[in-house]
């Protein structure tokens, strides 16, 4: 199914926007105004955008330390994100969370965990809550290949299959967990691909191909809403930058430069741009307009963040409990 011109443009715009935001964060990061460990999403944009473009606003997402892409793709507020990176009061988590702990309840994002795998059962629980309420809200659970090492994934998927929950598990296999290659951690293919298809729909997708991700996500989401249970989408991709911080902060020597180079060529944003231009879905002028619009929005968000007040030390004990 072809998503149609408008949807394609939207998706391209969303990817481009996430990319530019990540780049801006990266370019400012060494100024030390964002005093929080950032895990940039550059190179993986097609996954968050592909999946979230197939979700509705009140569907749930669960996210991890590499959190910006999911938050933005789902529609999270940009100003609140940038303010959070500056640990400001108007940040989405009021400065208590930082880059790894984003939240935006208005779009079904109930908070990201920086414990690898920690969000997986929580996303499963959101699917359970949804099912108890009729099952119309889908829970999309994003996690990395590192998280797939954790037994909680197995436990969660078993539970989702057992209760036929409306959950979509999205493994972003970017091949690395910090400086550990997936082959140092995982034996063979992901075993969930071998589950019975009626219990778990499973797909292995080119995670740098937005249309492939979107297509698979549509299928999985439709299945979930129909009440047929969970899906598992493994999206092959690559972490172009280092684990945390900006490119220059990546330690040397743990991976092959050629590998990085090769993957840079598979850039999901560039490739989709080329495709859209080639098939004449968009003109270069349209893209330029997008770039300008995005830049203005980013400038605004950074300005907003810089102006936003800092939380005061005496607020330290706020928010421990909810009344």
């Amino acid at each position: 199914m072809n998503p149609g011109v408008e949807k394609k443009k939207e998706m391209f715009y969303a990817m481009l926007r996430i990319r530019r935001i990540q780049e801006r964060i990266e370019s400012c990061y060494l100024q030390d105004e964002m005093k929080t460990p950032v895990h940039l999403y550059i190179g993986q944009e097609a996954i968050a955008v592909g999946v979230c473009s197939a979700l509705k606003k009140d569907d749930y997402i669960s996210s991890n330390h590499r959190s910006h892409g999911h938050y933005l793709a789902k529609g999270g507020d940009l100003r609140a994100l940038i303010a959070e990176l500056h640990c400001k009061k108007e940040g989405c988590s009021k400065g208590y969370g930082g880059s790894m702990h984003l939240v935006d309840t208005s779009i079904g994002h109930l908070g990201s965990s920086s414990i690898v795998g920690g969000g997986i059962p929580i996303g499963t629980g959101l699917a359970l809550a949804s099912k108890m309420n009729g099952g119309q809200r889908v829970s999309a659970v994003f996690f990395g290949d590192g998280a797939a090492d954790e037994g909680v994934l197995y436990e969660s998927i078993n539970f989702a299959m057992l209760k036929t929950l409306p959950a979509v598990y999205i493994l972003e296999n970017n091949h690395w967990s910090v400086c550990s290659h997936v082959s140092a951690r995982k034996a063979g293919d992901n075993i969930f691909h071998q589950a019975l298809p009626d219990l778990l729909m499973s797909r292995k997708i080119d995670g740098n191909n937005i249309l492939a991700v979107y297509q698979a996500a549509l299928e999985a989401i439709e299945r979930a809403r129909r009440g047929s249970g969970p899906s598992f989408l493994e999206c092959e991709t690559y972490r172009i930058l280092g684990h945390a911080g900006c490119e220059s902060q990546d330690p040397e020597g743990y991976r092959d430069c050629a590998e990085v180079k090769a993957w840079k060529k598979k850039c999901p944003v560039d490739n989709f741009r080329e495709q859209l231009l080639k098939e004449k879905t968009m003109t270069p002028a349209e893209i330029t307009a997008m770039e300008i619009k995005i830049e203005i929005e980013i400038d605004d968000a950074f300005a907003f963040a810089r102006k936003s007040p800092l939380p005061a030390g005496r607020e330290l004990e706020n928010h421990l409990f909810c009344e």
Binding site: Y60, S62, G91, C92, S93, K94, G95, Y96, G97, H101, V103, T105, L110, G111, S113, I115, G118, I120, P121, I122, G123, T124, G125, L126, A127, L128, A129, S130, M132, N133, S139, G151, V152, E155, S156, N158, F159, L162, N318, H319, L320, F321, C322, E323
Partner: protein, 364 residues
Amino acid sequence: MPWSRIEADCLEPNFGNECEDTTRLVSYQDAIREGLRQALALDPNVFVMGQGVDDPSGMFGATRGLQEEFGRDRVFDTPLAETALTGVAVGAALGGKRPVYFHNRPDFLLLAMDQLVNHASKWHYMFGGAVNVPLVVWACIGRGWGSAAQHSQALQGLFFHVPGLKLIMPSTCFDAKGLLLAAIKDNNPVLIIDHRFNFKQNGLVPEKMYTLPIGKGQIRRTGKDVTVVAVSHLVVEAFQAAEELAAQGVETEVIDPRTLRPLDEALILQSVCKTGRVVIADTGWKTGGVTAEIAAMIAQKAFSSLKAPIERVASPDVPTPAGFTLEEAFYFGKKKIKQAILKAMNYNQLSAKSKEASRRCRAG
């Protein structure tokens, strides 16, 4: 085999301080079950999950019959996957539900620590208050019949240390129901650690739905000579010790904190200010456990009232042994509490001061 079944065959002591408006005697298990039933009936978002909540034995009877009444969607068994299922409960709570997760024994909570400590108890704070986790986790300490090292741990000392987690340890049928309902009503994660010995009791419990404040202790017996702060089923032991010592002219005040976090410090301090002598009794290990915090708190905030060192009665710092002769040495109750009370009573500050000072400083 007394291991897996308990009979509610004894009456709670008459503490004389609660539940004046009923004469209905209810067993501990039924008090909990009644609370659950009322919560399930009142709020469609409440649900009950856990290994064996639909068993014939029904979690010491506390969940018996609930699945039949409320259906498999609201009362359900779970896989043995404590890590994920605790996270599932957290997620369901975030999604607007009010899960009550029966975990059976605290020992198994060690598999759920990441979700309880890294997630549930931090979620509200970590997002600046944007979200909250109305979750109740329940576990019941095992004891006796060779339950041994992995099936009888009183782990409140661990959870007690965790900010963002409320911790309840009831001791009466009345409290078991009222605090359970308060926990379900609370918008935060609450851990209830119960004790299988509590399930021996029958007590007065009103039929109506009621909640008790989380963070308020209760004086179980008034006395002017010495304060005993006792936790969970040790409240009964302390009460009996106090009654027996009254014959010897020692008037013991027995305080049941009921909730450990938040702790009713004011109630404890007020009593200590009056008596100046303190015994703290907890089922957990001594070192770094609940008695340590309460003792440290009193020693600081009521420093000048203290007439004797604070006595801590707690489990020895070893795993629980299986053998009954070893168990006998491991567990304690009335007798050891009595000894501690007498020790506190017999301490003579001035003479001890000079003796100790001379001894220590010779050594030093």
